[in-house]
């Protein structure tokens, strides 16, 4: 089968980038799109040219390392699949595919299709955890979690931090990603003590990284390879607002200068 690729090539963030065309007849329907890039790269290298830089690792849709735009769609044409799970049988013989990196202000480009997504780690660092030191834990079955709550937590916890939701969003908002973690931990009893604080800190961290605000365009839900539902954003907004209304994070101990005399009422 014949597939042509128009690939975004950019040696470094400083240099300008452009689409470069690659044609191949070595494609076959049971080859994955990333394997096609491997084949093209092998050809480029044996001619002494620099191969196309792209990220991937597990190649089965779980590590979140891969990801670029295919014909304007984050992770390509299939719902519920990451870029590494796209096989050429999804395309027509003779088709041309445009490959370009996920673009967002908070995802600086490194090279070609490779971007820096460390902003996502920093959102988790701000509060995406339960504060429990090793050794603190009680016997596991002391907590009872209704099955459907556990399932909902798992649905949200399935996020692989690929960044497709951000690339697909007209505002480059990280709401689906952030909401997924807030929902995962917020559904479980272990996550309750820090629920408000977590929402406040993570939402603020996302804004500080330069991700945009959510206007419920809904593009993220379609792009997400793990089918994280939009409800996680509702949950995030709820937890955030509730924490704001409670004035969480603002209460500080009343400080009294030593030696201050009692006031007579």
């Amino acid at each position: 089968m014949r597939i042509a690729l128009e690939v975004w090539r950019q040696r470094s963030p400083e240099e300008p980038g452009r689409f470069v065309r690659y044609e191949t007849t070595e494609a076959s329907p049971d080859m994955s799109l990333l394997e096609l890039l491997d084949v093209i790269n092998e050809g480029l290298v044996s001619e002494g040219e620099e191969p196309i830089a792209f990220d991937s690792d597990c190649r089965e849709g779980i590590c979140g390392t891969c990801g670029f735009m295919v014909n304007g769609l984050a992770h390509g044409p299939l719902q519920g699949a990451a870029t590494c799970q796209v096989y050429l049988r999804s395309f027509r013989d003779g088709e041309t595919l445009f490959l370009e990196p996920f673009r967002a202000h908070a995802f600086p480009l490194i090279k070609d299709l490779v971007i820096n997504r460390s902003a996502l780690d920093r959102i988790i660092t701000a509060g995406g955890y339960v504060s429990v030191n090793t050794g603190n834990a009680p016997e596991a079955n002391t907590s009872t979690i209704p099955k459907d709550l556990a399932e909902q937590a798992m649905d949200a916890a399935a996020c692989i931090a690929c960044g497709a939701c951000i690339a697909a969003c007209p505002n480059a908002s990280a709401a689906l990603f952030t909401g997924a973690k807030i929902t995962h931990l917020g559904k479980l009893p272990e996550g309750q003590p820090e629920r408000g604080r977590r929402a406040l800190r993570m939402v603020r961290a996302a804004a500080a990284e330069g991700f945009g605000h959510c206007t419920f365009a809904g593009e993220c839900e379609t792009a997400c390879p793990k089918s994280i539902p939009l409800q996680v954003i509702t949950q995030m907004n709820h937890d955030y607002l509730a924490a704001r209304l409670r004035g969480e994070g603002r209460a500080t101990a009343r400080h009294i200068e030593p030696g201050t005399p009692k006031k007579r009422r």
Binding site: G48, G135, A140
Partner: protein
């Protein structure tokens, strides 16, 4: 050198308690004076680094991934074992210990394995407290499933994503320490050498994969949690970037490599579909509960499976192992598949495949029940192969999946280099010659949360490593060495990619040192590898330069190390004149083709010492079995 496993004295159940009490402590105020370097943030590394941070040490993490959450542990599907006995089916620490020793075909240390079984209880507690969404029963309590090699249900799971959820728990604990200021992480940074100064591990040399800069990291102790080396075989179920460079470089600096030939082959993976294939995908072992495995009776039968009548099919596992049938253990099922394909009865375009057929189960239970049980696996299969397993049988074939061998460590997880600790799949410690399903995750977290942090602290308290900095001659020398290795690769002016050599080496290893091995084949491999390595250095071509993101350079460095490692794997396989677990020597089998162990001569850990310009030296650590006396494994 005498290899001392440093197993504490006393009865098995008291050994770990005793050792914990023997450990020296560092007072809380002094901990921040020590810097610990943890390479790798899979289950074994992230859990260890987070715990050390919580204790108050200054921790530095180095990973080649762009985020700690992407380590290969993320891909583990099935589950994690623990002897909780929540199902009241007779499980206990003692039973998990016995199962693991037997499953490992009596080639693991009793002391280590007993501790692993004990610690397993606390792992589940810790993970639940972190918010790991394990599967639950309707009553809200934790659910379990059963796994191979056990007659009890002790496997905890989070759908088919157990590794992902456990890793996210450890990753979040780690980032919490980043927030607290105790842990610093350097992503996209690959360790290329270990620095040993005055006989102690004191740091590493690493390459910043984005800028190409060589960086040195100085520390008071180093923990390697860099995963397994199965990618030496090129095609495997490992992630593409998993590699052996960290442990191999440590080996060359003095850490002994134990049982390198103990590699695990998983029977149910999607077969290779062509030359371009980049990796193999695992199909969970659980499918064998309802699927029947068969091949045509006649060699070279080209008919499609539906056209082959019942009488002309060979359900070879059911035939050869009537009592275990399709649920025979991994090593046995893999070898049986290879045997029928060698007879020319394999199926699919390459002839390297067997059918895993669900039509009986679908007739008996209905397609909806099967979909409920295995829907996501069926979808994954359809996505990759373009075939519908509800209509036509799956094709599967064995693939490299795990490495039981690794750097030798004592009971305290310290290698033969003072101050170098090794955790997780990178060490050799607990699985003997064959690992049971759902035990790798258990071991990684046991090492990381509960064992290494105490052992490292005790080492620091006793050794009180003197201050060194990156101007120490050992750092200077290691940096120069690394730069020279990179230069050598970049200066070759050939025409071939590193990947093409990797494929060639992997095929050789798979053919001669894969599912079954014999003297002739191993000797052939040992003769060919050095010749291949020489061609590699002559014929390789790496476009671009070293001062930027250069994937070809990264791959070439890893492949260069695979050549040396491959030789050691074959050498170890050649010396071990017995069959045990994943290591099957054709010369050593029972009359009906089963593995034949030789406890009299080979009940030891083979630990290899690197010697420059000479063959490696073999050191033996004898294994003593008191609580679990060896018996023959039989599945007939």
């Amino acid at each position: 050198m005498h290899l001392d496993g440093k197993i504490p004295g006393g009865p098995l159940p008291q050994k770990w308690e005793r050792r914990k009490f023997e450990y020296a402590l560092v007072s809380p105020a002094n901990r921040r004076k020590y810097r610990v370097l943890v390479v790798g943030t899979g289950l074994a590394g992230a859990s260890c680094a987070a715990t050390l941070g919580e204790l108050g040490y200054r921790v530095e993490c180095v990973i080649f991934h762009d985020s700690p959450r992407r380590a290969h542990s993320i891909a583990a599907q099935g589950g994690i074992n623990a002897a909780k006995n929540y199902q009241n089916d007779g499980d206990s620490v003692q039973r998990l210990f016995q199962d693991t020793i037997k499953g490992g075909d009596y080639r693991a240390r009793e002391g280590n394995v007993y501790r692993l079984a004990e610690v397993s209880l606390r792992i589940i507690d810790q993970c639940v407290a972190q918010g790991v969404p394990f599967a639950r029963e309707y009553g809200g309590k934790l659910a379990n499933r059963s796994f191979g090699g056990a007659q009890v249900s002790r496997t905890f799971y989070a759908r088919g994503q157990t590794g992902q959820q456990l890793l996210l728990g450890a990753y979040q604990a780690l980032l919490r320490q980043v927030q607290a200021g105790t842990v610093r992480i350097s992503p996209r940074t690959e360790m290329l050498d270990l620095v040993v100064a005055n006989g102690k591990a004191r740091g590493i040399v690493a390459r910043d994969l984005v800028t190409g800069e060589l960086r040195t990291f100085v520390a008071d102790a180093v923990v390697l949690a860099t995963g397994g080396y199965g990618n030496a075989y090129f095609l495997s179920t490992y992630a593409r970037n998993s590699n052996a460079t960290a442990i191999w470089r440590a080996h060359r600096r003095g850490a002994y490599f134990a049982n390198p030939c103990f590699t695990q082959i998983h029977p149910t993976c999607i077969p290779v579909s062509g030359e371009h294939q980049s990796k193999l995908t695992l199909m969970s072992e659980s499918l064998r509960n309802d699927g029947r495995i068969w091949v045509p009776l006649r060699a070279g039968d080209e008919r499609s499976p539906e056209q082959i009548p019942e009488a002309e099919r060979d359900y070879y596992l059911e035939r050869r192992y009537p009592s275990y049938g399709n649920l025979s253990p991994r090593d046995v099922a893999s070898r049986a598949a290879k045997a029928v394909c060698d007879e020319g009865r394999g199926v699919g375009p390459s002839g390297l495949g067997v059918y895993l057929d669900f039509s009986d189960a679908i007739r008996r239970l209905g397609a909806n029940v099967i979909a409920e049980r295995y829907g996501n696996l069926f979808d994954m299969y359809a996505e990759i192969t373009g075939e519908d397993p509800y209509r036509t049988p799956m094709r599967i074939y064995p693939a490299i999946h795990y490495t039981m061998g690794g750097l030798w460590v004592d009971y305290d997880l310290m290698s033969t280099i003072d101050g170098l600790f090794v955790t997780g799949e990178a060490n050799f410690s607990d699985h003997g010659a064959n690992r049971l399903g759902a035990s790798a995750l258990m071991q990684g977290l046991a090492d990381g949360y509960f064992i290494a942090p105490l052992a490292v602290g005790s080492y620091l308290a006793r050794a009180k490593p003197p201050a060194v900095d990156a101007t120490h001659p050992a750092f200077e020398a290691a940096r120069k060495d690394t730069a020279a290795r990179i230069e050598r690769l970049l200066s070759a002016r050939g025409k071939r990619t590193a990947a093409s050599f990797h494929r060639e080496l992997g095929k050789l290893l798979w053919d001669e040192c894969g599912m079954s091995r014999n003297r002739e084949g191993l000797e052939r491999a040992l003769a060919r590898i050095p010749e291949m390595r020489e061609r590699f250095y002559r014929e390789i071509l790496i476009p671009g330069h070293g001062e930027s993101l250069n994937r070809e350079l990264e791959t070439a460095g890893r492949v260069a190390d695979y050549f040396e490692l491959a030789e050691l794997i074959c050498r170890d396989a050649l010396h071990r004149e017995e069959s045990c677990g994943g290591h099957f020597r054709e010369e050593h089998q029972t009359p009906d083709g089963e593995a034949l162990r030789d406890d009299e001569h080979f009940a030891y850990v083979a630990a290899w010492e690197w010697r420059e310009g000479e063959p490696p030296a073999l050191h033996k650590e004898p294994l003593v079995f008191e609580a679990a006396p060896p018996m023959q494994r039989s599945y007939k």
